[in-house]
């Protein structure tokens, strides 16, 4: 994976597979602390303590859970290579929260990349799931919430190409506004 936004897409797909109805993604850039953090939280079916223990190991997962194993372990590796770490909190029936941190200016930290494409893939391919994307840059904040969008769009689906491209532009501009 060349961009962290691809890892975000990958981890969020786990939330979809866990039957989440709301997935919150938050990217925080803190230049004072030299920190980048990515939090992906869902209200899906969650994991029990035994599964949680082995979820970061790509070789201990069964075929059925193969996708979970690879994606999480990749993100863990990238976080640790960038002087950060990966933390997972999960409770059966409540949901899962994955938090990855990175040293912002670490030479091995991949670029964030196209978050807007990641979010647009998620919202346009999972019409029954709601997504929140928050981007925090020091004390500035941008927030995108599909529940607000769907209220305006009514019967027009989120996979309409005009809507997809609007979502991308809206997020791209929103992030640029707070980071520049």
């Amino acid at each position: 994976m060349k961009e962290l936004s691809l890892n975000i897409l990958d981890i969020a797909e786990n939330s979809i597979a866990a039957n989440a109805s709301l997935v919150s993604i938050c990217v925080t850039q803190d230049s004072h602390e030299n920190l980048l953090s990515i939090v992906i939280a869902d209200d899906g079916k969650g994991m029990d303590a035994d599964f949680l223990k082995m979820v970061t190991d790509p070789f201990s997962t069964t075929r059925k859970t193969r996708k979970v194993g690879m994606g999480i372990s990749l993100l863990k590796l990238i976080a640790e290579q960038s002087n950060g770490n990966l933390e997972i909190i999960s409770e059966v029936g409540k949901g899962t929260t994955v938090k990855a941190t990175f040293q912002y200016d670490h030479i091995d930290r991949p670029p964030l990349g196209s978050v807007e494409q990641t979010i647009s893939v998620l919202v346009s391919c999972n019409l029954n799931v709601d997504f929140i994307y928050e981007h925090i840059f020091n004390d500035k904040r941008f927030k995108f919430d599909t529940r607000e969008i769907k209220k305006i769009l009514k019967e027009t689906p989120m996979n309409n190409p005009d809507v997809i491209l609007w979502v991308q532009e809206y997020i791209k501009e929103g992030i640029a506004n707070i980071t520049s």
């Binding site: 996708k67 893939v121 305006i152 190409p161 532009e169 501009e173």
Partner: protein, 123 residues
């Protein structure tokens, strides 16, 4: 600058389109493999290229969707095309560059791009 107000205009535009259409049985679904293997191989830019091409050509009965790992990871990015009344077509190692040809020849004109399909490689 994009604003939430733009959505109302998009809604109005699609509402008119939907009213012009009779049925949704003729829909074509383009399904992109979006598991770890697909994403790592470049599935996201491929999906993006399909969305842009469909929008450019104003194709109102074509949808892009995603699926998980289909077990052919070495052939990712994999794209499956489901057209009404036709057999599924599986394209492998799809790149954004191949998308324009798939859309113009297959989606619009109904002629499968054989050289990009899994059949062409598995022979």
């Amino acid at each position: 600058m994009k604003s939430l107000a733009d959505l109302e205009a998009i809604r109005q535009k699609t509402f008119n389109k939907v009213n012009l259409r009779n049925e949704s049985k003729d829909d074509t679904r383009i399904v992109v493999g979006m598991a770890t293997c697909g994403i790592a191989a470049g599935a996201r830019p491929v999906m993006q290229a399909f969305v842009e091409e469909i929008n450019k050509r104003n194709l109102s009965d074509v949808y892009v969707s995603q699926t998980g790992c289909v077990g052919l990871c070495k052939y990712e990015p994999i794209v499956e095309v489901y057209a009404a009344g036709k057999e599924k077509v599986t394209y492998i190692k799809v790149s954004p560059e191949k998308v324009a040809k798939i859309v113009s020849e297959h989606i619009v004109n109904g002629k499968v791009v054989d050289e990009y399909t899994i059949g062409a490689v598995e022979k």
